[in-house]
Symmetry: C2
Subunit: 346 residues, 2 copies
């Protein structure tokens, strides 16, 4: 695929500039490149080409008499190139986490930590978003004299518990009947489908214990509401940003770290569902729309655990992040997560 704007040589030089800048974090000058590319061209030639590239907006000069650094547009070009080469070689990532870990939350936290350590960037990972909130199972139990336990299981095996004070006394048999009543009426319904008709029918069936029905329904509503509101986001390795001088001056570091602490803002990054064909999105600089991240790049990937349970993983680093490595790592993790939960299902 030819590029109409950039000829072969410009591409080579642009790539060289970006690669070099990734390593060093310093603006790179013509001489450096002329050595880097096996002295195919002299520094003067490079200078001319660089001048062109600058005019086209692929690189910028932080100040006169400094080398060039890639602009957002430059990075974008580079990333697009990589995304095209679908080299999805699945490297072995530490499998330590795929031990028998039961709770999803715990897996996600560990995964974030792992990602941060591996990449040396900051990692964030959103808990799953459950799209179809269908009720799968309800269980009402008496946990002690005056307390009832309501267990709600949603499609996708999301389980929530609540303990409520028992407002009225139920015998063991009544409890059993209530459970049957609840499950036969509610199973398979989404929250929207639990309308007044369903409710009044249930209350009628429940007879004198209609109050309990209310209790349970309130709880169900609460669970579903809470779940869709409290999107959990785990971050790790935020302090990795201190490894990159261009991010770690006090002003910027503070701003960036605050943002990483502030779940609300992260939701913007993680919330979008517009996945590329590979499920991977790259935001360079201001593309992310998040002020504090204008000097960063953010790479996000969506994972899916079957039954419509989706979440997002994100890596946040300097613009000069090692895109190749990050993309590869994310692809691997997605595969592994997938595999792990397929296994769990069996």
């Amino acid at each position: 695929m030819r590029n109409v704007e950039l000829d072969e040589r410009k591409i080579t030089i642009l790539k060289a500039i970006i690669k070099n800048y990734m390593d060093t974090g310093e603006p790179v000058g013509s001489r450096t490149i002329s050595k880097y590319v096996e002295s195919k061209w002299s520094s003067a030639t490079i200078r001319n080409e660089m001048s062109d590239l600058e005019e086209m907006g692929y690189i910028v000069q932080p100040h006169t008499s400094a080398g060039r650094i890639p602009s957002d547009k430059g990075y974008r070009f580079y990333v697009d190139q990589i995304l095209q080469e679908k080299n999805s070689e699945v490297a072995e990532i530490q499998e330590l986490m795929i031990q028998r870990v039961d709770r999803l939350e715990s897996v996600l936290k560990k995964l974030a930590k792992l990602l941060a350590r591996d990449t040396n960037y900051a990692a964030m990972i959103s808990g799953p978003r459950y799209h179809e909130n269908k009720l799968k199972f309800l269980q009402l139990s008496r946990v002690d004299e005056e307390k009832l336990l309501i267990v709600t299981v949603l499609e996708g095996n999301l389980i929530k518990n609540t303990i409520v004070p028992a407002t009225e006394h139920l015998s063991d048999e009544e409890l059993l009947n209530m459970n049957i009543l609840l499950n036969s009426n509610l199973n398979g319904l989404t929250i929207e489908e639990i309308n007044l008709e369903v409710i009044s029918r249930m209350k009628q069936q429940a007879g004198q214990h209609a109050g309990i029905v209310d209790l349970v329904l309130n709880q169900v509503a609460e669970v579903i509401r809470a779940d869709s509101e409290d999107l959990q986001i785990y971050t790790s390795g935020a302090t990795n940003i201190f490894k990159y001088p261009e991010l770690s001056d006090n002003q910027k570091a503070s701003e960036l770290l605050s943002t990483l602490e502030h779940t609300e803002t992260l939701k913007d990054l993680v919330g979008g569902d517009e996945a590329g064909e590979t499920g991977i999105q790259v935001y360079i600089g201001e593309e992310s729309q998040v002020q504090a991240m204008r000097d960063c790049s953010v790479v996000t990937a969506n994972y899916e655990l079957g039954e419509g349970i989706r979440g997002t993983i994100g890596i946040i680093g300097p613009k000069r992040m090692d895109y190749e490595k990050v993309l590869k790592t994310l692809r691997t993790v997605m595969t592994q997560l997938d595999a792990a939960f397929k296994k769990e299902e069996r």
Copy 2:
């Protein structure tokens, strides 16, 4: 209560130094103090006293020809003074969090955020430690064709769920009996009390479904183990440290923030049970034993939610933190937490 070492004037001056340093973060000189204390004494007198105080170890000079700053010993003196004045006036703290929030975790997270915002220091809060891990209630249900749900409730209403594949088929009636079997045998036992004898008795009673008993017991063991290992710690406001120049140089900030990210280390701070008479502990500088916090002070308070459920709240800030405010805030929060959960119980 007289102090044998320090006379009235030395105390006044020492306090003035500490207060002033808290405001400004700058070393404070004799002239400043002489103005500060309504010109009762001249700067020269102050100088003499300061010289004494320095010799006694209450204040130090960062370098010759700089003002003095309080030493750990100085802060210690100051804090001890405050702790003596038991002014436990319970200010009204934002009650927004004491709404109907059901999940403890969520309350704790919000609380950490609130504390951090209020104090302008970093806050951490540990999830509850359950000391007496007695089984209170077990419930086994069939959630769909090939999956069983095990709900474990421990003393103190800690609830855990697990979904496991059903290894053998149980009829509704058998399931009911199994639940009775489980609860009648296990309720009220601690993990240690579930010995081989109990287990073999249960298996015998279970007859052909002994396998299920194993399944459940494994789960119970796992829950209790996981709970005692995975002490959750929530932090918030870590970036507040950038507000204090003496902590925010790159080296220190990075170190400190890493520590705050690293749960293991925080456990050391939060784990200890040696509460003072008020349940509040103050660690100044190296007293905390945590390297990265040698320039910080850490104030911890234990909260208790009845039934032996305990946790710890901590505030981390510069040595010159406003101890009075922090102590007051913590006392308030403890009271509120207590009240909130007393209410919840009813």
